[in-house]
């Protein structure tokens, strides 16, 4: 049970939300979908006296803009999964949302914004946002600021969010090319052990994988050194390249770092292989 005298706040405007957060400092938590925070409050792993619920801010919409899609921070996995706009403009996100474990009951509550802010290394969202080049719009007492996903994740369970700030939306550039995606879990109830997004940009002759859960923060690994003159990728070289880059792997109760390091290369190679096979179809 939540044993602190928690006070529930449901602000109507971003300004009110930031004001609550600023006023209560460490004693306040931002309540998104609740799938991560609420049980942690119940187990007293997080203690707070103020919960600031973002449900009243209308942050649950997906809006198409020229060049990017804006996804409200309270957009659930279910809504991501079923969004026609995202199916067109950011299919990788749709695919990731479909693979979130915990059942439809979790996908109806959990949000990609909440997962980003929790910044558990062993989660699906951070690496996908980094791979897509997403920007996170943070709202604070002084207004908005935008942070690139690659800069937002600062460490395990640590983000760039400052006092009084909350995540308002995610801006995801239109995905112009297919992405390959692979996620390794131990079983259905397991959180991700390693994820990989592979992207290829034929015009700019770029290729990279973004590895999630292998380190405390997502890691982009360029594969350009593996491209030959004809633009073909040396798939066989991926594993060694990736393993070399996972120098300080993440450990948790489900899998220690040595395992993550041992499998990261194969996971990346599978993401790339899927991408290439898809391209051939």
């Amino acid at each position: 049970m939540i044993r602190t005298d928690l006070r529930y706040h449901r602000p109507d405007t971003p300004e009110q939300a930031s004001a609550h957060l600023a006023a209560h400092g460490d004693d306040a938590v931002v309540l998104g979908g609740g799938t991560l925070l609420v049980p942690m409050l119940g187990r007293a792993e997080v203690t707070a006296r103020h919960a600031v619920d973002l449900r009243g801010l209308g942050l649950d919409t997906v809006t198409e803009h020229a060049g990017h899609v804006e996804i409200g921070a309270m957009t659930t996995y279910h809504r991501v999964h079923t969004s026609p706009v995202l199916a067109r403009r950011a299919p990788l996100l749709v695919r990731m949302a479909a693979g979130i474990t915990g059942g439809e009951q979790i996908r109806n509550l959990g949000t990609i914004g909440g997962s980003a802010c929790h910044a558990n290394p062993s989660s699906d969202v951070p690496a996908v946002l980094v791979a897509l080049g997403a920007t996170l719009r943070l709202h604070g007492p002084a207004g908005h600021r935008d942070v690139a996903a690659a800069d937002f994740f600062r460490g395990a369970f640590a983000t760039d969010l400052a006092a009084g700030e909350f995540l308002a939306s995610l801006r995801v550039p239109h995905q112009h090319h297919r992405a390959g995606y692979h996620k390794l879990t131990l079983c259905e109830g397991s959180w991700p052990i390693v994820t990989a997004v592979a992207t290829l940009d034929p015009e700019r002759r770029g290729a990279e994988v973004t590895v999630g859960a292998a380190k405390a923060v997502p890691m982009r690994i360029p594969l350009t050194t593996l491209l030959d003159d004809a633009g073909r990728l040396d798939v066989g070289g991926i594993e060694a390249l990736v393993r070399h880059r996972i120098d300080d792997p993440w450990s948790d109760v489900l899998a220690d770092g040595s395992y993550r390091r041992a499998v990261a290369g194969a996971v990346c190679r599978r993401a790339v292989a899927e991408l290439l096979e898809g391209a051939n179809r």
Binding site: M1, R3, C187, A255, V263
Partner: protein
């Protein structure tokens, strides 16, 4: 000797009793009970694996909002006596200690209860418990088996002088000599992880100590009468003033065996505050409970044909701290199980129970049979591998033959069986030869594809005289004036549906529709003293007792009907709600009514006791050694044969179970649909334990699993469909021919998956005998290129 009623009733399979209540949310479980004014208990637990309690200052908690009472270990010394074991290890030559409801001057595991708070709300009780200040002096702790057995290891119980709680040497024949003359000997080591039952509904207790002095306890427990006996002893209150009601259980599987301190704590708090007090275990608390952490060394001697001549080994169990919730008892079958279904006259197994500063064990489905089954079945496969024989063939070569029963196998007197028959059947049902063909094709493509075979012997109906783990039980059958039937039984249901089967058995005895029979379980004010739910004996003991009682009542009903109808009692048939002779018939209810209205008034109608109580004992247990020193504590021996197919991902170590087939024989099946349900559930718990269920600890002895995100259990997408076949070899020693089905499948599944994974890894020359076969561990084995 043979006492099976060859006319064992064929009952009609019906739907699960109260299914409509469960499906519509109207079935009541423990936490659904909350009388007005109920207060809530929170337990402050030790965060240290081992520490001296220098001081416990409860004053800050007493000042917290909503707090009605706080009790520390010192306070509790005045309120409650020492906790008795439900299964005292001294009865089998083990050690014990003084166990209290709250720690007094030393805590011995993370989670050891230190103090309790009762408050208006659970949240306030938990907040207040947190406010208690405890001054701990940390002491050296032992966590793993090797540490505990090391010389000069820190002691869990200082006055024992060592950390060994119990040594049990089991032997038959002359294993040393047989091993010495065996043409081949293989030996290996196995590690079986700590993994628990994890019922979905946690434990819970609700005590209401009324001003009248009557204590009523509702409990999510498997053994209500044992709880009442303990409360009487510990609280020094006559049992006549205590009523324990076991509520409908949301699963149990051994986790809810009696003996926990919280059973007593809610009562003494209720007395202290004069209100009902409830406690429900949190998931994190539930995950403290351990089970079956074993290290097994095993050697087998065999000849060129694959005939196994001797088995020798040692079973070490890390039982955590000893406690009164008696999961340590799993050590008994862990050694006793050997040599399983095989005809191996020379066998010696040392069983050693070792205490550590991990939390104690309680029971868990499989109950210590899973680890030796794993070790034995792996060894049989290694014999096959060594001789380049098919593992099915080696098993066939070694089974106790069907004509050899009853058969003494070390400390087991095997009742009956056709082991080759079950294996033959599963080979056919699984299309084993095609599995092997597909495996060859998969290997040719470089895939790690394995086919596993395993055989499980599942001793059931544990009957250990001197303990409360007994094989007999008692039921009462009562006929009321409208012809309604009430069964009151000492066995309880953990959610398996035995109440449905008991009702069906009794209804069948009277030729009545099943819904005329009500079954009362778990209420100590109503039911005969019984042992509740354990060791897959609900129908073999409680169901059979109900049948026996029903037959007694039926005879009286027949005599009454004969008087009313004016026909001889012999040959009356009970069917379709009627009691009939060739020439006359009368409604069952009419006879019951006549008995109550006209007994003694009508000549011959002089047996108005339409009620009988019967006890049924297992006829295949021994309480004293025979002339050859042999004793068998398990009377019933179910068994099952398994085949599964797995893929192992060579790059990640992840195992996928593609196909699963099993054939079981639990003797006569009363309700085949429910037997199948037990097998499905047991097999999936076994697959979970084979692959990923585990309770990890850090090096200091602190548990790392607090939620189902850390303790992974199988979900629907983790397991395949299960093809199930059955064989029926009735037990000649039980009234109904039943043997018990509640644990079947689990041990076989653990072994079958382990054999399949090892089979998959064979082309790499890799063996893996450390469980579970989680992806990280399998990959490490693959990368090491050898045995782990």
């Amino acid at each position: 000797m043979a006492s099976t009623d060859l006319a064992a009733p064929r009952v009609e399979q019906t739907r699960r009793r109260d299914g409509d209540l469960m499906l519509t949310g109207r079935a009541e479980y423990l936490d659904d009970l909350e009388p007005a004014g109920t207060l809530h208990m929170a337990v402050l637990r030790s965060p240290h694996p081992h520490a001296r309690l220098r001081a416990v200052d409860a004053a800050p908690a007493r000042r917290c909002r909503g707090v009605r009472a706080v009790v520390t270990g010192t306070d509790a010394l005045e309120l409650a006596g020492p906790l008795p074991h439900t299964f005292d290890p001294t009865g089998v030559g083990g050690r014990t200690a003084d166990f209290r409801v709250l720690a007094v001057d030393e805590v011995r595991f993370v989670g050891d209860p230190v103090a309790v708070v009762v408050a208006d709300s659970l949240a306030d009780a938990e907040a207040a418990a947190e406010a208690i200040r405890v001054d701990y002096e940390e002491l050296p702790a032992v966590v793993e088996l090797d540490d505990a057995l090391a010389e000069s290891a820190p002691l869990v119980f200082a006055d024992w002088g060592e950390n060994v709680m119990l040594r049990l040497p089991y032997s038959a024949g002359d294993a040393d000599a047989a091993m010495a003359r065996s043409p081949h000997v293989l030996r290996d080591e196995f590690r079986f992880q700590r993994y628990q039952a994890a019922p979905l509904e946690p434990r819970g207790y609700l005590a209401d100590w009324a001003a009248s002095g009557k204590l009523t306890v509702h409990a999510s427990t498997q053994n209500p009468h044992m709880v009442r006996a303990t409360l009487s002893r510990v609280l020094d209150v006559p049992e006549a003033r205590i009523r324990v009601v076991a509520t409908r259980l949301g699963g149990a599987f051994g986790h809810k065996f009696a003996g926990y301190p919280e059973e007593v704590l809610v009562c003494l708090l209720s007395r202290a505050v004069g209100a009902p007090v409830k406690w429900v275990e949190s998931r994190a608390e539930a995950l403290l409970v351990g089970a079956r952490e074993f290290a097994i060394d095993l050697a087998v001697g065999f000849d060129d044909t694959g005939r196994i001549l001797a088995v020798q080994g040692r079973v070490l169990g890390n039982i955590g701290c000893l406690s009164t919730w008696s999961g340590w008892g799993m050590m008994l079958p862990a050694g006793m199980l050997m040599p399983g279904p095989y005809d191996i006259p020379h066998c010696a197994i040392d069983t050693v129970a070792v205490v550590t500063n991990k939390p104690p064990w309680n029971g868990a489905r499989g109950y210590g049979k899973e680890a030796p089954t794993l070790a034995l079945e792996r060894m049989v496969d290694l014999v096959a591998e060594h001789l380049a024989l098919d593992p099915v063939r080696v098993r066939m070569r070694n089974f106790v033959p069907p004509d050899a029963f009853p058969y003494w196998s070390m400390a087991k007197h095997l009742d009956s069986g056709d082991y080759p028959g079950a294996l033959t059947k599963v080979v056919r049902l699984s299309d084993y030869d095609r599995c092997r063909e597909r495996q060859r094709a998969a290997r040719a493509e470089g895939r790690l594809h394995g086919v596993g075979v395993a055989f499980e012997l599942s001793p059931e109906g544990a009957d250990f005289a001197g303990s409360y783990a007994r094989g007999f039980d008692t039921s009462t059958v009562r006929v009321s004036p409208t012809g309604g039937i009430t069964v009151l039984t000492g066995v309880t249901s953990p959610g398996t549906g035995n109440e449905t089967s008991i009702a069906a058995l009794v209804a069948t005895a009277f030729g009545l529709p099943v819904d005329t029979v009500s079954v009362v379980q778990g209420d100590t004010d109503a039911c005969p003293v019984g042992f509740g739910n354990s060791s897959s004996r609900s129908l073999t003991a409680g169901g059979a007792a109900a049948v026996r009682a029903a037959r007694t009542v039926r005879e009286r009903m027949a005599r009454a009907a004969a008087v009313v109808l004016g026909v001889p009692a012999d040959g009356l048939i009970f069917a379709g709600g009627q009691i009939a002779s060739d020439t006359a018939r009368i409604g069952f209810a009419e006879v019951a009514d006549q008995v109550y209205r006209n007994a003694y008034a009508i000549p011959g109608l002089d047996e108005p006791l339409l009620e009988a109580t019967a006890v049924v004992r297992p006829l295949n247990s021994s309480y004293l050694p025979d002339e050859q020193g042999r004793m068998s504590g398990y009377p019933n021996y179910s068994y099952s044969a398994h085949v599964c197919v797995v893929d192992v991902d060579a790059e990640t170590g992840r195992v996928v179970v593609l196909e699963y087939t099993a054939v079981d024989d639990c003797g006569v099946r009363i309700s085949p649909v429910f037997v199948a349900g037990q097998l499905y559930g047991g097999i999936v718990m076994g697959v979970g334990g084979a692959l990923f269920e585990q309770l990890p600890f850090d090096a200091a002895g602190r548990p790392l699993a607090r939620t189902f995100k850390h303790y992974l259990v199988p979900r629907a997408a983790d397991v395949p469909d299960i093809r199930l076949g059955h064989q029926v070899t009735p037990s000649p020693f039980t009234l109904l021919g039943t043997k018990g089905a509640g644990e079947s499948g689990l041990s076989g599944a653990v072994a079958c998956v382990a054999n399949a994974v090892n089979d998959a890894l064979r082309p790499l020359g890799v063996r893996i005998h450390r469980m579970p076969l989680s992806a990280p561990r399998v990959l490490a084995a693959i990368r090491s290129g050898g045995a782990t």
